[in-house]
């Protein structure tokens, strides 16, 4: 069955919003995605008719809400093919999910003489927590370098992994779109005796994800980048690791017992979910994965590959050497994230000119300053695609770029 992409587009109310009499061309989904009416209405309806505490009260309304909350956990687990819903820990975003692993697993397992391997592709969320812990516990950080077209340079992977206790890497770069060979990296990590932590924040929204096929140990992602609400993310972890790990943040729900002189922890996942959770947001997250499933992740990936190909071709055909699009050219190896340099115009000015035509792209360092330095820039403009984008959006981007040429006089 083919997907009616125009109908998909219609699911997103904001795409009908007009500024200066014309609709928005939203090309910033790598930053955060828009929400379909199915998600908005689920949250709206839930707050109007069914809002109640989770796992704390015993009346029917609360039981119903708890069932929906746990149903969303099961839906998220299924979406990434996790063996069990108990292995899904809800966090506030992917950043917290990564910090949780670093502080809890890393806090208990890393010390002087140890090493953790990262890559030059990483987002700050998968760098700074490690730097913070390394400063405290004194282990070494190592980095997988990049090839000229922005792929991981795996030539020395085994040497880099030798003696490492963890390998933490992105499944898709938010700057270059690069999709590393996740299963192969996990295998290399395991062979070296390291655990594998996957920052799948950009991957899960756009691809079929199977954490068991990856054979990873931890996988982090965020709801807001995958048609779901802000305010919630998820950590999937192998149950044996989650069971062993010490508590992360302390408070209600994560305890079995508290006495004046100490506490014992609740079973996973409650152990890592202190305090009142993002109740409405988790339920909206569940609606988001159901929405994506109703279309099919394989089809979404196909759609985005075609659109990415179209964008790469359109922009280079029209602007030739005046445009540099970073990252791999082969759309099998990349997602629909297009970071580019255009003439000598600063990305912020490009974004400004594009915004005049309602074309929304991000200009900046994309929370990946080390990568920016390697690219030799301090910012790029970035157009990022999602299921609700189509060729007309790419054309609008291409046309609007001309305006920059006018003003900056080339």
């Amino acid at each position: 069955m083919t997907v009616d992409w125009a109908a998909v587009r219609d699911d997103f109310p904001i795409l009908r919003r007009e500024i200066d009499g014309a609709p928005i061309i939203y090309l910033d989904s790598g930053n955060t995605s828009q929400k379909p009416r199915q998600v908005i209405e689920t949250m709206n309806e839930f707050m109007r008719t069914s809002y109640a505490p989770i796992n704390r009260s015993a009346y029917r309304l609360a039981g119903e809400a708890t069932d929906r909350f746990e149903g969303a956990r099961a839906a998220v687990a299924r979406f990434i093919n996790a063996p069990s819903a108990d292995e899904i820990v809800f966090t506030k975003n992917a950043t917290e999910a990564l910090n949780l692993v670093v502080a809890s697993w890393g806090g208990a397992n890393l010390g002087p003489g140890d090493a953790v391997l990262l890559t030059h592709l990483e987002h700050h969320a998968n760098i700074v927590p490690w730097q913070m812990l390394a400063a405290k516990q004194g282990f070494e950080l190592r980095w997988v370098p990049l090839t000229a077209d922005g792929q991981l340079d795996l030539a020395n992977l085994d040497r880099l992994l030798a003696g490492a206790k963890a390998f933490a890497f992105t499944a898709m770069s938010n700057v270059l779109g690069t999709i590393p060979p996740v299963a192969r990296l996990v295998q290399a990590a395991h062979q070296a005796g390291a655990i594998a932590i996957v920052d799948a924040c950009q991957y899960v929204p756009h691809n079929v994800t199977d954490v068991q096929a990856w054979n990873a140990d931890f996988v982090a992602f965020s709801s807001h980048k995958m048609c779901g609400p802000s305010g919630v993310g998820a950590l999937w972890g192998r149950i044996d690791l989650l069971n062993e790990m010490p508590a992360y943040i302390g408070g209600g729900n994560m305890i079995a017992d508290v006495r004046l002189d100490g506490f014992t922890t609740a079973p996973v996942p409650a152990k890592f979910e202190a305090g009142t959770p993002p109740i409405v947001e988790v339920i909206g997250f569940g609606a988001a994965v159901e929405y994506l499933e109703s279309i099919g992740m394989a089809k979404i990936r196909q759609h985005e590959m075609e659109l990415t190909r179209y964008a790469l071709d359109t922009l280079t055909a029209r602007y030739g050497d005046a445009i540099t699009i970073h990252g791999p050219d082969n759309v099998e190896l990349r997602g629909g994230v297009l970071s580019f340099a255009f003439r000598d115009i600063h990305p912020h000015d490009i974004s400004q000119v594009l915004d005049q035509r309602n074309v929304c792209v991000r200009a900046g360092h994309h929370c990946a300053k080390p990568l920016m330095r390697l690219l030799g820039v301090n910012a790029t403009a970035r157009a990022s695609l999602y299921l609700y984008n189509d060729r007309s959006d790419v054309d609008a981007l291409s046309n609007a770029l001309d305006g920059a040429t006018d003003i900056f006089g080339f």
Binding site: H346, H348, D349, Q352, V353, Q356, H365, A379, F408
Partner: protein, 155 residues
């Protein structure tokens, strides 16, 4: 492009293409500070030589390093031209006036100092583009940092 004339005035583009006072000053005797715009990754370093002249502290030289968009770079360039040779007190008054133009409340003006924005008025159009205000004020905030909390020099 219609709508952007107020932002990209000719004088602004001129300062962007041909920035004044680019470079560095030896630290010490110069003082310097770094500014970041987290939104777009712009980085700027302001170097200042402050010398006493007739009992008043004066900005005897200023240099600007770093990278950024047309607005942050031209604002830095115009700032450097405007502050060179002015007393520190006049410079503070100018910063207040400039930020006032950017619709940032900076409290009372200094009643005893009279400063004019001059060319800087070309940046007034930025106010219509609120996200660019941070670009326009980056150099100015960094200037104040260089005066009040300069990066410690090694000697």
């Amino acid at each position: 492009m219609p709508g952007l004339e107020d932002l990209y005035r000719e004088i602004i583009l001129d300062h962007y293409r041909t920035p004044r006072n680019r470079g560095e000053l030896a630290v010490p005797p110069a003082r310097h500070a770094e500014g970041h715009n987290p939104l777009c990754g712009d980085e700027i370093t302001v170097f200042l030589d402050v010398a006493e002249q007739n009992g008043v502290d004066v900005i005897s030289d200023v240099k600007i390093a770093g990278q950024g968009c047309s607005i942050s770079q031209s604002s830095a360039s115009m700032m450097s031209a405007a502050v060179k040779g002015k007393s520190v007190r006049e410079v503070r008054a100018l910063v207040r006036k400039f930020k006032g133009m950017m619709s940032i409340d900076t409290g009372e003006d200094d009643p005893e100092v009279d400063v004019l924005l001059g060319d800087l008025e070309a940046l007034q159009g930025v106010v219509k583009f609120p996200v660019r205000i941070k670009c326009a004020t980056l150099a100015w905030n960094t200037l104040i940092e260089a005066l009040d909390n300069p990066v410690p020099s090694d000697t």
